[in-house]
């Protein structure tokens, strides 16, 4: 890998004599350990000074290293903090790690460099108790403010049964409720303006237009939004903690429920990462099946977006038509996988079953049927004058802002940047398909919808290619770690039988290592960073979801607009709360 040597060498040249330690990872992403006190310098260099800068803070998360056995070639650490940077210019990832010891769990906040780090740092504080000096509002973000302990530490219990029985006496209830009260002073918000009193409006967590349990507190002057504070965490289900408890195989259904509209699209980055760790090469047929199912789910998710988007600006009918199409789609998915929204159907090294007889007919009928419907929706929704009035020029951000805040997916392409993981980092065989990356120009609500609508047609194109060129072959890789392993030879020799038995009962033992794989999911880039410690379970499962980054940006794009605009913005972002809170 030339590039790997490239960026590492550049850093070593610039910071000569510093103890920069390189770590080998299964995913070939350059990974460097930094001393804590040089963190800000290195990051500033990478963002502001270097040629082909790393402008996007792609992810930031902690690792509890205390119980990890396989740490060959890594410096002493009780905890580690990972900064995952992304350069669109270079098409290059870079992972930086900082080692922390238990008795001094603190390091400088990087919010001055990347405002988008604010939520990520809160999350690391919440989950690991790592303190970020200079962070303006370091607080619990996913757990309630009254939570005790830091959930992703290895000594924090994962099950309620490990805790004393739950009780809610009235004083505790009052304390919990009081903790939900919004305090404008904490956020530096004035209660009064020059000649007006501001109204603080609590929008959510149960509001018809926030698409789940999302709370956003508005500082209003009349109906104009002066400022707002999004609050998340109501949908937190500790998916990352579950990743450390479930076996590699049995975690797959959990991934389905992260972006619950994306179905098997969620399985894809997870199984790809596990396969990278295990060194499994999957057959062509598997790749093609995976692509087809993922694209079917992309259409399903985009149809829900399309309908709710128009509904949130007050148009009541389109969502019903689109749900009918989605039902047809689910018919196909059900025929193939046996389930509708959450099939959990991809497997380590393959998929659960082969395609059923007659799948071609169902898929062909659908891809012949949908374009005409899309034409109708185009007239009904996208060409509607009132809808344009409500969404054009509303909630605008530039490409630079989008990159700065970690926006990925259609939200990024709506600003005009031609970037799609399927094209620029092809995975699962996307390089073999002929499709276009849809972009728009203005980065407003209308364009975000425009891009998604166009993507539906591109997805149809990809599915048609899958249909016409579906390779023959097995639906599972012939590899000992494929789960469940191929069974044909088990009755013939004892070794295969033992392998099969262990693989099925305990689950596979994945070789130690680290890998992260990102895919172009329905809502943006979804990636799984997996650390294996040579066990039947993952040592650390980090889920980087697109919606988390997108929601953090809401205040920036909604200041000075009206409540109705905020609703349009929320609708155009296309998030689901499970994807934010995990």
């Amino acid at each position: 890998m030339d590039q790997r040597i490239g960026i590492e060498q550049e850093l070593l040249n610039r910071f000569e004599g510093e103890p920069l330690l390189s770590q080998k990872t299964a995913d070939q992403i350059p990974t460097l350990w930094l001393p804590r006190d040089r963190l800000l310098d290195v990051l500033r260099f990478l963002k502001l000074e270097i040629e082909g800068p790393f402008l996007c803070l792609y992810d930031l998360f902690g690792i509890d290293e205390r119980r990890r056995a396989h740490r060959e070639g890594q410096p002493e650490a009780d905890y580690a903090l990972v900064y995952h940077l992304l350069s669109y210019d270079r098409n290059q990832d870079l992972r930086l790690k900082v080692a922390l010891s238990e008795d001094d769990l603190g390091l400088p906040s990087i919010t001055s460099l990347w405002p988008a780090a604010a939520w990520y740092e809160c999350e690391a504080w919440d989950m690991f108790g790592i303190e970020f000096r200079g962070h303006p509002h370091l607080r619990r973000i996913l757990t309630p403010p009254t939570w005790e302990g830091h959930p992703l530490r290895k000594d924090h219990p994962a099950r309620a049964t490990e805790l004393p029985p739950f009780r809610l006496p009235s004083e505790r209830q009052e304390k919990e409720q009081e903790a939900l009260r919004f305090d404008p002073a904490y956020w530096g918000m004035a209660r009064h303006g020059d000649n007006t009193d501001f109204m603080f409006l609590n929008l959510g967590p149960n509001h018809p237009s926030v698409h789940g349990v999302f709370r956003i507190i508005l500082q209003l002057d009349g109906e104009e939004i002066v400022d707002c504070v999004p609050e998340i965490g109501f949908h937190h289900r500790a998916a990352e903690k579950m990743g450390e408890r479930q076996s590699w195989h049995s975690f797959i259904p959990y991934t389905d429920r992260i972006d619950y509209l994306g179905g098997v699209m969620n399985n894809l980055p997870y199984v790809l990462a596990v396969e990278k760790l295990a060194g499994i090469q999957v057959p062509e047929r598997v790749k093609c099946i995976r692509v087809m199912l993922s694209e079917l789910f992309r259409i399903a998710s985009h149809l829900v977006f399309y309908g709710t988007f128009s509904q949130d600006v007050g148009q009541l009918s389109p969502i019903f038509y689109m749900f009918i199409d989605r039902e047809k789609l689910f018919g196909i998915i059900e025929a193939i996988t046996g389930a509708r929204m959450h099939p959990g159907w991809f497997r380590i090294g393959g998929v659960a079953q082969d395609l059923p007889r007659g799948w071609e007919r169902m898929v062909r009928e659908f891809i012949d049927y949908l374009p005409a419907r899309l034409d109708q929706y185009e007239k009904m929704v996208m060409d509607n004058g009132l809808l344009k009035q409500r969404t054009v020029g509303i909630g605008t951000y530039s490409t630079a802002e989008a990159i700065e805040w970690g926006v990925t997916g259609p939200g990024l392409r709506a600003t005009g940047l031609d970037w799609d993981w399927r094209k620029h980092r092809p995975y699962s065989g996307y390089e073999n398909y002929d499709f276009e990356v849809c972009t728009a120009a203005n980065g407003d609500c209308y364009d975000r919808c425009r891009v998604r609508v166009d993507e539906i047609r591109q997805s149809l194109r990809i599915i048609r290619q899958c249909l016409e060129h579906m390779p023959e072959g097995p639906y599972k890789a012939d590899h000992p770690l494929t789960t469940p392993p191929p069974k044909e030879r088990t009755m013939e020799d004892i070794e295969t039988l033992i392998d099969h038995f262990l693989g099925v009962s305990w689950g596979p033992v994945i070789p130690p290592g680290e890998a992260s794989v990102g895919v172009e999911a329905t809502k943006g880039n979804n990636s799984y960073h997996l650390i294996s410690d040579g066990d039947t379970v993952s040592y650390r499962t980090r889920i980087r979801t697109p919606s988390f980054a997108h929601l953090q940006m809401i205040p920036l794009i909604s200041r000075g607009l009206m409540v109705s605009d905020l609703i349009a913005i929320i609708a155009s972002i296309d998030f689901v709360m499970a994807d934010v809170d995990r």
């Binding site: 109204m199 409006l201 609590n202 509001h207 018809p208 237009s209 009349g222 109906e223 128009s310 509904q311 949130d312 600006v313 007050g314 148009q315 009541l316 009918s317 019903f320 038509y321 009918i324 509607n384 009132l386 809808l387 009035q389 409500r390 009206m562 409540v563 109705s564 605009d565 609703i567």
Partner: protein
């Protein structure tokens, strides 16, 4: 004495019929929306689900009559009554046939305008007395919307008054014997229909309730029969606007072959269906956009219509 009884009986019958019609309208709207949105709508209670509204009514009557502790109690209770009372009062001057009307008022049209303007108090008071921020926003939107749309609602009708030379609704219908006023007063018809939709806050003018933004707005805190009254009031409003439009622009009960009452019902039903279709089809403009449509487009249109009609009337010596 017999006369009084006759009038009372007529009032009683009309009110009952109107309330039943409003309930039926709720069902009709749901079925029509179902038809246009590729779904079924209520179809279980009675033939074609026609008794759904009755079932809902029974349910809503048996709900606890609850006033939130933080609300301004007397006003909170009074507010939903206002809309139903004013709507029923306004319907009193509507001549369904040449002979069937509760009162044959000289200033019928003015009375209608006054009553429909009064109905605005219902939403404003409800929004204020609920003591809820969303309701307050709804109430504010409602106040602003009513004020701006009332202005040109009145203006849009003056052309009709000029042509007919009367404020009496019955005489206005009779004056349309040769030609329905929708032809000479097409601008007025458009402006009035828009203003009427805004008055009865139906989509696309349902900003005071806008469930996607301010969660039912002025009636967020209402439940049980008090909520039911708002509901009935809204549908009475739709009936009223449709009926008045038919009278002013579509020749009222006039038409060949069929009896007058049937003509009236037919025309009104068609207009009501059109209003429901609008709800199925259109998104909702933003608050300030609504205001600018009102002041920058509708008001000038109404004035233009008035001036042209006046000029023609002067020149033609009507």
């Amino acid at each position: 004495m017999a006369d009084v009884f006759r009038v009372l009986a007529q009032i009683g019958t009309t009110i009952t019929v109107l309330l039943v019609l409003a309930a039926l309208l709720i069902w009709a709207e749901r079925r029509l929306l179902g038809l246009w949105q590729d779904r079924l709508g209520p179809n279980r209670v009675g033939p074609f689900g026609i008794l759904q509204s009755v079932a809902d009514m029974i349910k809503i009557f048996f709900k606890e009559d609850w006033v939130p502790p933080f609300a301004e109690k007397p006003v909170f209770i009074f507010a939903p009554c206002v809309v139903v009372i004013t709507m029923l009062m306004a319907l009193a001057v509507v001549p369904f046939t040449p002979t069937l009307a509760i009162v044959d008022l000289n200033v019928g049209l003015l009375f209608f305008l006054a009553m429909s303007a009064l109905a605005a108090y219902s939403t404003i008071l409800a929004g204020w007395s609920s003591n809820n921020k969303y309701s307050l926003l709804g109430g504010m939107r409602s106040a602003a919307q009513m004020i701006s749309y009332d202005v040109f609602m009145g203006l849009s009708l003056m052309g009709v008054v000029m042509l007919a030379g009367s404020f009496n609704l019955r005489e206005i219908v009779l004056a349309q014997q040769g030609l329905w006023y929708i032809v000479p007063q097409f601008l007025g018809f458009l402006v009035f229909l828009v203003a009427g939709l805004a008055e009865s806050h139906r989509l696309p003018f349902d900003l005071p309730e806008a469930e996607h933004e301010i969660i039912a707005g002025f009636h967020t805190e209402y439940s049980g029969m008090k909520f039911g009254l708002f509901f009935v009031g809204e549908y009475l409003g739709v009936l009223l606007i449709a009926a008045i439009t038919v009278i002013l622009f579509l020749g009222g009960w006039q038409g060949p072959w069929l009896p007058p009452f049937v003509w009236f019902v037919l025309k009104t039903a068609l207009l009501v269906a059109f209003i429901i279709l609008l709800r199925a089809a259109l998104p909702r403009p933003r608050f300030d956009q609504l205001m600018s449509i009102g002041w920058k487009l509708m008001l000038p249109l109404a004035l233009l219509n008035l001036m042209i009609t006046g000029a023609v009337a002067l020149a033609g010596g009507l």
